[in-house]
Amino acid sequence: MASKPLSPFLWLVFSAGGTAAALLFPVHLFLAGLAFPLGWLAPPSPEALRALVGHPLTRLYLFVFISLPLFHWAHRFRYTLYDGLQLKHLTALIAVLCYGTAVLGAAVAGWTLWSFPG
């Protein structure tokens, strides 16, 4: 599958992404996806949110927040397809699609956060 020096790196990124997602995603999804839309808790105003996101530390946080878990998904999903659906003959294509999507997502996130107003 992956070459020898690449495998530990991919696993490291997968683990980092999984840890970030495990620690941070539930609270963020609860707030942004349920509590705020349903009015259980008062969301920050768009202006306040803009100011918050504009801060360099928040930009960095969000970049890591979005990118690492994407690579976690890429690595994990790739193996799920390979083992679960036994798509061994497509192993190279699956790898390219999965990691490629993650790279694309990270690039878009990086660009968006870099050029965020403020």
Partner: protein, 246 residues
């Protein structure tokens, strides 16, 4: 509890059938009998043609592994009374090629075992005059759990990754590699690293965890594998970073 229980045993005689068939035997239901006792009863009294492996009958040799009601078990440790009501299904260890009846081909596993060099590897042997290799209890503790492996291969039968990819080096081989990697007397980590980081090495494992669930000796091969992944990854990092050791 009645007097007898039905054993539904997979038979495969390549000279007469293309696929395994089940054959039922009525065996005495004794409170202290294990599946191995029942199989030996079949062989001794009912059907001498049944082929199966066994040896110590006390859970230390690793010979009698089979599928009992779909779970990989040591038949010398699987009580008939725990599998009631019958029929109790006995099949050869899953994911291995079947030679005959309940006997599977374990050559591939033996090859994998040899590949990981499950012995103390030294750059230089200490001369006898210098005395023994000494080891503290803590140093023993670092690898003792992994040394309990009896090569019964139940973990291979539980591992879906091995089922899907028979070339996967597998739980027991990796656990045994770790047993020696973590032994303070050993200096062979580098050599084993080559084998373990290959295409069919540790990176095929997706931590299903079933191997540790079925291990009769609590070796925890899944733990051994994850620890090795982490060690491998940190080693990679240390090589990458300029101040790391080479």
């Amino acid at each position: 509890m009645g007097d007898t229980v039905t054993l539904s045993v997979a038979r495969y005689r390549p000279e007469q059938e293309a696929e395994p068939v089940f054959q039922d035997y009525e065996v005495p239901l004794r409170r202290d009998w294990v599946v191995l006792d029942a199989l030996n009863h079949v062989k001794d009294r009912l059907d001498g043609s049944l082929a199966f492996r066994w040896s110590c009958r006390m859970g230390v040799c690793g010979s009698c592994g089979m599928m009992v009601n779909g779970e990989p078990r040591l038949t010398c440790a699987a009580f008939l009374s725990d599998h009631l009501p019958g029929p109790i299904r006995v099949e050869p260890l899953r994911f291995f090629p079947v030679i005959r009846d309940l006997v599977v081909d374990i050559t591939s596993f033996l090859g994998k075992l040899k590949k990981v060099k499950p012995w103390i590897v030294r750059k230089e042997e200490k001369p006898i005059s210098e005395g023994e290799y000494r080891q503290t209890p803590d140093q023993l503790d670092a690898y003792k759990q992994f040394s309990m492996c009896i090569n019964c291969m139940l973990c291979y039968s539980a591992c879906p990754i091995y089922g899907l990819e028979p070339s996967f080096i597998g739980p027991a081989a990796i656990a045994l590699a770790q047993r020696y990697n973590r032994d303070s007397r050993d200096q062979g980590s580098r050599e084993r690293l080559e084998v373990l980081s290959e295409h069919d090495g540790i990176w095929q494992c997706t931590f299903v965890g079933e191997c540790s669930q079925v291990c009769p000796k609590n070796v925890d091969p899944a733990g051994a594998i994850q620890q090795y992944k982490l060690a491998s990854a940190t080693r990679w990092l240390s090589l990458l970073l300029p101040w790391g050791e080479r």
